[in-house]
Structure formats: structure tokens, C-alpha cells
């Protein structure tokens, strides 16, 4: 009697405590996941409006045109707002929260066989800081000044004078705080809470990727926070950290204190934003590794090489930032240094991708939905990575940098690359999270059109970019004679974008339908080896596992000769 009253097992939690202000890593992971998916959809819609404008400049935007004034057409400054917010929302509110906040939060404690994150309250604080930052960012559309218009990179002097930037900076402070709290938590959790027997080289690659990612977030974000403080001072206190003396705007010398440097912002910004690229890609690689090895029924090829490559990527990503700045006219010595480091950093990425390809060799591959997304990650990320090489060399970068080529390059890395890996992860872990399997037919109906239309959007950008079409033009380059030969691709890309939107409908239906009437998944529907599959589906609130976890195996013991099954879970001797 007395023991049972002490051990009240959390059954008496109210709805708000259990689902809203929860400290359980699984609920927080879901909160992150749902908000991030909503933000992704929102960011996508912003892009859809921009794409309408690029394909049909000056014609009224259908359906939502009334938002842009009486004519229903998009003014150039509105186009700039949409561009800045699309970038910011997709990166800071969509992709990173989905890969790190949602999947990382949900899966890491399960994969290392523990009860929760090391600091559960800090975890909740991280989510709520993210949520507040997101609300501020989106609500900036409705502020008197409107949303920020200076691009997601917020280069001064434009960002100092343009409307809406103060709210953007405020929101970023919340988002940076959130990712800081989250990544401290991840590092401590992975170092301290691994189950007995789970040595570093037995950690699944997803955990490794999140571990390196967390270090990047902890060390790269603070300089951006510093830069944001300086930009805020420039905007509200009249300082001139980023404004040079004698600055001329619209033909008149601006009355500012002066003697600052716009370049300083670019250095501080890219010091964050290059590691941020690896924050986007590393967890995706981790997810793909999990799914590839599971569905080829083979140990991943070169486990240690992949781990060391990830760590190496993490280190080198801090010394390549200025390859985003070749156009600023930096000296030969500087650009030689950053070109060299950029070539060096491509090596570990290639090592990882090669290991993935070699893992497929001789496997009896199961082509289920997560595997299809994971497989398509390989060529898509491959295209994104290889098209990046000319941008890492100053001579070619100077021609390509301000063109659509760059947009095509990084979207291949992030959209059909990272976002496909995230889809793969959602399909793969959905049975663990909900206890239900997702529908395979709807999954394939989601995958094939998405793959085709993603390429339909981004492949023509290389064509336009090589022809010299500038990015960030609200009319898509209509005013430039040299662009006229390739502008007809705009309509093709826009139609692809709308069809890509429609292709997401089976995914949304699939989630809702499977949640209610999906096939029961059981503990281990994919016959997987890692620890999360030793927990019930869904894992128990606050404790995750219903048995003591001790690890006896490395992460991917598939098709071990002379064993009865074709996989040995990490918990088995």
C-alpha cells in the first residue's frame, strides 16, 4: 500500500502536464517534429508563391493573391521578404528542428538504451525557446514593418536599413538559445547515459552523427549570436560595427557613425553558417546509414572510416567558411587557404558516400519506402556535393556565385538530400513512435513523384545558373538579355514545384491513416539490431524500456555466419 502510493507511476498526470509541458524526451521530440513539419510546409508555401512570380512575373498570384494588396501581384520588396523568410524558416525552423530536435530527441535516448535525456527540464526549455522563436519569426509578417527582407544571410549594410530585421534578430536569439540548450543536452546524454556495454565503437552511426552535430551547434552558433548582438546595436543604438564611413544609399551619404566593416558580418555569419551546412547533412547521413544497413541485411561497410570521417568533417567545417566570400575580393593567400581546406573537406564526405555505396554491394536489398528514400539520398546528395566543387574554387566561383547554380547546388544537398533522408527516417521510425506501420503503397506514391519533381525543380537551376541568370531577382531575370535563352525553364520549375506540393498529400494521408488503422508493428518490424527496437512500440512513458539493457554486440550485426537469424540485436549475447 505504502509503496504503491509512493510509486504513482505518472498515471495521474493531467493532459497539459503530459502532452504540453512534458519533460519526456519522446513527447518533446514529437512536439519538435510536428512544429517542424508545419514550418516546413509553411516555408514551402512561401517558395511556391515566389516560384509563381518567377514563372509569370507581374501576374496576380492565384488563391492567396489578396494578401499582397489590391492588384494581387507580388511587389519586389514582398518577394525579398518571402525569400529571406523561406531560407530562414526552412533551415532554422524546419530541417534542423526535424533532424536534431525531433528525430535526435526521440531516438538518441532509445538508441543508447537509457530513460531520458540527461537534463529533461532543459530539453523542454529548449523546445519552448524554439517555439517562441518560431512564433516571433512567423508573426513578423503581420508586424507594421513586415518580415525581414535582407536574405537569410542578412548582409549589411542592407540589413541595417531594411525593415523587419529587428524582429528577425530577436527571433534568432531565441532559436540560437534553443539549439544551444538542446545540443549541450545531447552531448551530455551521449557521453554519460550510454547503457552498460555500449562502448563508443558500438554506438549506432545516427548517434555518432548527432554527437558531432551537437558540437558544431555548440561552437558555431555563439559567434552568430555575437554578430546578431552587434547588428542589433547597429540598428537600435546607432553604432557602426558593419557600416563604413561615407556610405552612400540611394545617391546620398548616410548619416552614420561609420568606420565599421560589412565584411566583419560576413566572416561572423559564415563562421556559423558553414558548420550549419554539416548540421544539415550529418544527421541525414546518420539516418541513411541506419536504413541502408538494415535493408541490405549487411553490416555497414567501413563503420570506423565513417565515424572518423564524421569527426574530421566536424573539425574541418570550422576552417572553410570564407569560400562563401570569394566575391569580396579577398587576397590570394586567403583564397588559396580556403580553397585548399574546401578541397580537403570534400574527402571525408566522399569517404562516407563511398562506404554507403559499397554497403549495397552483394546485399539482398529490401526496397521498402524508407529504403527508397535512403537510396535516392545517395545520388541526390552526390549531385549536390559534386556541383559544390566548382564553387570551392575561386576562379569558377566568381562566375557562378551570384547565379541560380548556387541555389541548385545547395538545394540538391538539402532538399532531395537531407529532406529525403528525413522522410526515410520518419517512415523508418514511425512504427517505433506510434506502434503502427505506415502504408507502403501510399509511401511509394509519395516517393516516386517527389523524386521526379525535386529534380524537375532543381536540375534546370544548373542550366540557368551556367547561363548566368542571377539569383534573388524578383522577376527571375526577365530584364536581362543574356537570360532570355533559358528563362522558359522557369515555368517548368514552377509547375514541378506545385506538383511536388501535391505529391506530399499521400504522405499526410499516410501519417493520419496509419495512426488510426495501420498494421500493428510490434517491437521490431524491420528485424533491426539497434537498441530502440528492444523497447516496446511506443516506448513506455518516462522509462522507455521494460527490461534492463546490457549491450553485447556492435551496432550492425546482420547476416552473421552460423547464426540462426540474419541479425543479432545488440542486447543478445
Amino acid at each position: 500500500m505504502s509503496t504503491s502510493s509512493h510509486n504513482h507511476d505518472h498515471h495521474d498526470e493531467g493532459f497539459i502536464r503530459k502532452y504540453i509541458f512534458s519533460v519526456d524526451h519522446k513527447i518533446i521530440g514529437l512536439q519538435y517534429g510536428i512544429s517542424a513539419l508545419v514550418f516546413l510546409l509553411f516555408g514551402f508555401s512561401l517558395m511556391a508563391i515566389m516560384r509563381w512570380q518567377l514563372a509569370y512575373p507581374g501576374t496576380a498570384v492565384p488563391i492567396v493573391g489578396f494578401l499582397f494588396g489590391e492588384s494581387g501581384t507580388l511587389a519586389p520588396e514582398q518577394y525579398n521578404s518571402l525569400g529571406a523568410m523561406h531560407g530562414t524558416i526552412m533551415i532554422f525552423l524546419g530541417v534542423v528542428p526535424l533532424s536534431v530536435g525531433a528525430l535526435g530527441n526521440y531516438i538518441i535516448p532509445l538508441q543508447i538504451g537509457t530513460v531520458d535525456m540527461a537534463f529533461p527540464k532543459l530539453n523542454a526549455a529548449s523546445f519552448w525557446s524554439f517555439f517562441v522563436g518560431g512564433v516571433i519569426m512567423v508573426s513578423s509578417f503581420f508586424m507594421p514593418e513586415g518580415a525581414a527582407r535582407s536574405g537569410w544571410t542578412s548582409y549589411p549594410p542592407l540589413s541595417i536599413f531594411e525593415n523587419g530585421q529587428t524582429i528577425w534578430l530577436l527571433s534568432m536569439v531565441f532559436l540560437i538559445t534553443s539549439s544551444l540548450l538542446g545540443s549541450i543536452n545531447f552531448i551530455v546524454t551521449i557521453v554519460q547515459l550510454r547503457a552498460p556495454g555500449l562502448t563508443w565503437m558500438r554506438l549506432p552511426l545516427f548517434v555518432w552523427s548527432q554527437f558531432v552535430t551537437s558540437f558544431l551547434l555548440v561552437l558555431a552558433f555563439p559567434p552568430l549570436e555575437a554578430a546578431a548582438v552587434l547588428q542589433l546595436m547597429d540598428r537600435v543604438a546607432g553604432t557602426s560595427f558593419f557600416l563604413p564611413s561615407g556610405l552612400v544609399v540611394s545617391g546620398e551619404i548616410v548619416d552614420v557613425a561609420g568606420s565599421g566593416s560589412p565584411l566583419l558580418w560576413q566572416h561572423l555569419f559564415w563562421f556559423l553558417a558553414h558548420p550549419e551546412v554539416y548540421v544539415l547533412i550529418l544527421p541525414a547521413m546518420g539516418i541513411v546509414a541506419e536504413i541502408l544497413t538494415n535493408n541490405t541485411r549487411k553490416p555497414i561497410w567501413g563503420f570506423k572510416s565513417i565515424v572518423y570521417s564524421m569527426i574530421f568533417l566536424g573539425f574541418v567545417s570550422f576552417i572553410v567558411w570564407a569560400h562563401h566570400m570569394f566575391l569580396t575580393g579577398m587576397g590570394q593567400a586567403m583564397s588559396a587557404f580556403f580553397q585548399t581546406t574546401t578541397m580537403i573537406i570534400s574527402i571525408p564526405s566522399v569517404v562516407i558516400l563511398t562506404s554507403f555505396f559499397l554497403s549495397l554491394w552483394g546485399g539482398s536489398i529490401r526496397f521498402n519506402t524508407p529504403m527508397l528514400f535512403a537510396l535516392s539520398f545517395l545520388p541526390m546528395f552526390g549531385i549536390g556535393g559534386l556541383t559544390g566543387l566548382p564553387l570551392g574554387l575561386a576562379a569558377t566561383d566568381i562566375y557562378l556565385h551570384d547565379t541560380y547554380y548556387v541555389i541548385g547546388h545547395f538545394h540538391y544537398v538539402v532538399a532531395p538530400g537531407t529532406i529525403f533522408a528525413l522522410f526515410a527516417g520518419i517512415y523508418y521510425w514511425f512504427p517505433k513512435i506510434t506502434g503502427k506501420k505506415m502504408n507502403e503503397i501510399l509511401g511509394k506514391l509519395h516517393f516516386w513523384p517527389s523524386l521526379i519533381f525535386m529534380n524537375g525543380i532543381f536540375m534546370p537551376m544548373f542550366i540557368q545558373g551556367l547561363a548566368g541568370v542571377s539569383r534573388r531577382l524578383s522577376d527571375g531575370g526577365e530584364a536581362y538579355a543574356h537570360a532570355s535563352g533559358v528563362l522558359h525553364w522557369n515555368e517548368f520549375m514552377t509547375v514541378s514545384a506545385f506538383l511536388l506540393g501535391i505529391a506530399q498529400i499521400p504522405f499526410i494521408i499516410n501519417i493520419i491513416m496509419s495512426l488510426y488503422s495501420g498494421e500493428k508493428a510490434g517491437r521490431n518490424p524491420w528485424d533491426s539490431t539497434t537498441l530502440e527496437w528492444a523497447a516496446p512500440s511506443p516506448p513506455l512513458a518516462h522509462v522507455n524500456f521494460d527490461s534492463e539493457i546490457t549491450v553485447h554486440q556492435s551496432a550492425y550485426e546482420y547476416s552473421v555466419p552460423d547464426s540462426k537469424k540474419d541479425f543479432i540485436p545488440q542486447t543478445e549475447k
Binding site: 529533461p120 561552437l219 558555431a220 555563439p222 560595427f241 566583419l264
Partner: protein, 199 residues
Amino acid sequence: MEVPYIVKEREDTGLINSKLGIWIFLASEVMLFGGLFSAYIFLRLAAPPGDFAYWASNLSVPLATVNTLVLISSSVSMVMAWASLKLNDFSKYKMYMGITLLCSLIFLVIKYFEYTSKFHHGIYPSSSTFMAIYFTLTGLHGLHIIGGMIVMVYFWLPVGSKLWDSQPEHFANRVEALGLYWHFVDLVWIFLFPVLYLL
């Protein structure tokens, strides 16, 4: 089930969670102030010769020296507060933590007079690049002082320190983590003092 290694160290890492957490937080703080110090170097190199030194001569070195001593004393008393807990002397802990709080308050009051005397002479962050970076760096450092003081007050009053009665070791660990943060804030000032006032 509780999260493990809150009070007892994990054997293979030799750490408790909070100690690792606070060190990683401090690493990020190093990057925050590192970014600002880099900005200082960048702007100083780009400034006309003597410009930074000219504006720096407006600052009061005696006041900053007093503040340096005050802050170093507060770091010492912070260590004493933690050591008192380890020696099981709670009343000494209250005294030393009170001294730390008092020192940080003195620091802020002196800083307040420094700021207002600048304002009275018509010197603002917008006056020059040096004053801009001076107000930004010391302002951000001041915010860190205030943040630390809020936690100190929490651990000084019964609301935070009642943990001592039930889990003394857990409470001592919390104070240790606060101490690590406080020494870092102190260390930032040790860098700020020569960079802003003396160079």
C-alpha cells in the same frame, strides 16, 4: 526511473552530468566572447592609428582596477562557499555566498557610475567604434553578471538551498557548477580590463 549520474560519477567518464554540461556551456561562451574579441581585433586593425587609444583614454582605469579586485574577491568567496558546503558548514556557506553577492552588486554599481559618467559627457555607443565595442562587450558581460546573481540569490535563499537538507551532495554539486560559471565570467573581465582600458 531517475536519470543516472546526477550525484554519483559515472565510472568510465569520472563525471557527473551537470559538470560536463556546464563545461560544454562554457565552451560555447568562449565562442561567444571569442567572436566579439575577434570583432574587436578586426575593427582595431581597420581603425585609423591611435583612434582606439584616444577613445580608451576616456575610461577610468582606477575604477576598473577596483572592479577587477572586487570581481576576483567574489571568485575567491565563491570557492569558499563551495568549500564550506564540502566541510558541512552551512552557515559559513551562507556567509560566503552573501559576500559573493555583495561583491557582484558592488561591481554593477561601479559599472553604473562608469556608464552614466560617459553619458553625462555625451559619449554614447554611437560616438566611435571603440565606444561601440566597449559598451557592447561590457554590457554583455554585465548581463552575465546579472544572470549569475539571479542563480546566486536562488541558491542563497531557502527556496533553492532547502535541497541541502535532503541531498547535501546534490546541492554542493549545483553550487560547484555555479562557481565554474562565475569563474568564467570573472575570467572574461580579466581579458576585458587590459583590452579595453589599458591597450
